[in-house]
């Protein structure tokens, strides 16, 4: 008995909880996360399982759907290129610079992500009714035209890209850049020769995510570009139109195409090391 008491003292005393407590804790955590994982799998399977493969092939060869797919691919690619062009330097600015109003600017760049998609579309529409917007329209027709799709996608995916690239930049030790400056490098050399070669996975991952998001962008595109067949119709709006006329199988088939594209992009992003998607 005396030996047990002294051993207990040596070990810091008995713990007030048992291994059972830890077991219950992990059971609850696993049940909640497992339940959500099941929901996602069920969503995907229900879509795949409900598609009639005959209808799927018929839908894919329809000219308006093929046209929507081409418009989707081209607009998503162009908006992603534009978004990366803007998001990369912006993310670097937010990751490295310290200036008055940075917190406000940072919050501002998150606005397109938290605004309801419909509001983004309406705001774009109103913007191009202002005198400045009308001036642009005279040179390059935007509203209800192809540029409207690209601009609507760009407005949202740039914010997403800024977030992802900024995380990649912030993982790089700022001391490396400071040392490079003392060695004699200009800011341009530091960015292109020290920072970008280390952040390229994050930048490429951001591009893939931006592309996937652009491909699936629906609300702003529908409001700002419309859904004119063979003109401004993209895959999400095509699925919506099919659904609205009661053609559920066609809507499912188009959804399946977008699911496959999203899965491919997600896999690529993961392979590039982007975890916080």
């Amino acid at each position: 008995m005396t030996r047990r008491v002294s051993e207990s003292r040596m070990r810091g005393g008995a713990l007030p909880h048992s291994a059972w407590g830890d077991g219950i804790f992990w059971s609850i955590v696993c049940a909640l996360s497992g339940g959500y994982a099941l929901l996602i799998v069920a969503l995907l399977l229900s879509n795949v399982g409900s598609v009639s493969w005959g209808v799927f092939l018929d839908v894919l060869v329809r000219p308006e759907i093929r046209r929507a797919a081409v418009v989707s691919l081209v607009s998503a690619t162009l908006s992603t290129v534009l978004a990366m062009w803007v998001a990369t330097p912006t993310a670097y600015l937010l990751a490295r610079a310290r200036f008055r109003g940075k917190g406000l600017l940072d919050a501002l760049f998150d606005v397109p992500l938290v605004l309801p998609p419909l509001v983004v579309g309406v705001s774009l529409l109103i913007l191009f009714r202002t005198p400045a917007g009308r001036l642009v329209e005279r040179v390059l027709p935007v509203t209800y035209e192809l540029p409207a799709i690209i601009l609507a996608q760009f407005a949202v995916v740039t914010a997403l890209a800024i977030r992802t690239i900024r995380a990649a930049f912030e993982q790089i030790d700022v001391r490396q850049e400071q040392v490079a400056l003392t060695v004699g490098c200009s800011r341009r050399v530091v960015f292109f020769e020290i920072v970008l070669p280390q952040a390229w996975r994050g930048v490429l991952g951001a591009a893939t995510l931006a592309w996937a998001r652009a491909l699936g962008e629906f609300g702003p595109v529908l409001v700002f570009a419309g859904a004119t067949r063979m003109k401004t119709e993209v895959l999400p709006t095509a699925a919506f139109i099919e659904l609205s006329v009661g053609n559920v199988q066609a809507a499912l088939a188009i959804s399946l195409v977008m699911i496959v594209a999203a899965m491919l992009v997600l896999g690529l992003a993961r392979r590039l090391g982007v975890r916080d998607v």
């Binding site: 030790d173 001391r175 490396q176 400071q178 040392v179 490079a180 400056l181 003392t182 060695v183 004699g184 490098c185 200009s186 050399v189 020290i194 070669p197 280390q198």
Partner: protein, 245 residues
Amino acid sequence: MSDAVHQGSACLSNPSCVSLASTIQSVARPVLIKLENVSVRAGGFALHALTLDVSAGAYAVLMGRTGSGKTTVLEAICGLRQVTNGRIRLGGRDVTDSPPAARQVGLVPQDAALFPTMTVYDHLALGLRVRGHGNGRIAQRVEECADTLGITNLLTRKASGLSGGEQQRVALGRALSWQPAVLCLDEPLSALDDETRAEIAQLLLTVKASTQVTVLHITHSLSECRLLADVALRLEDGRITQASA
């Protein structure tokens, strides 16, 4: 060990030592690093009215407790931290508002901060390349530098796979290859094991003997100071107060 170094270490523990500025003024060599009433802020931490003179070619060791602001002083000299008051002169030139690239100060940080995507050769060549030297001159200088630092066999290796000691050698080479006027060492030995620390300390003695570079080495180690310093300094209570030549 020289008498001067013993004198320096004795002075470190003697509060009646005269101020650094007046001590260094008696040295015949021209002053290369000069801080005139420099105030600098790092977040909530601030140093006020710092005065420091280090002669050309001297190996100055600045000691101080962790958190005393040693690195902040080094960053101010390198141009990585804006001073809020006072002037910094390097070789008589006022560099207070100059960018880091214009100061001719090489920096070796505590963690080496190598560029993982570059080879060792690229590290040593960088300072020469951005100054527009030709490939022949760069190759020659990199070879010389690598030979001095014992890293010739590492030139084709990427920085990411190097040991701690190798990283410090490369960081030293990156800072020295373009022959800066001043070399700032931020606790270069503190993250190394005993054996590697002794090797790098020996290497610093070689650099000291073979180059004309003026060194400001910060550390909290008295033994490093005893081994390396021509001039021993202490940063305490926001003031650089003691020195020996």
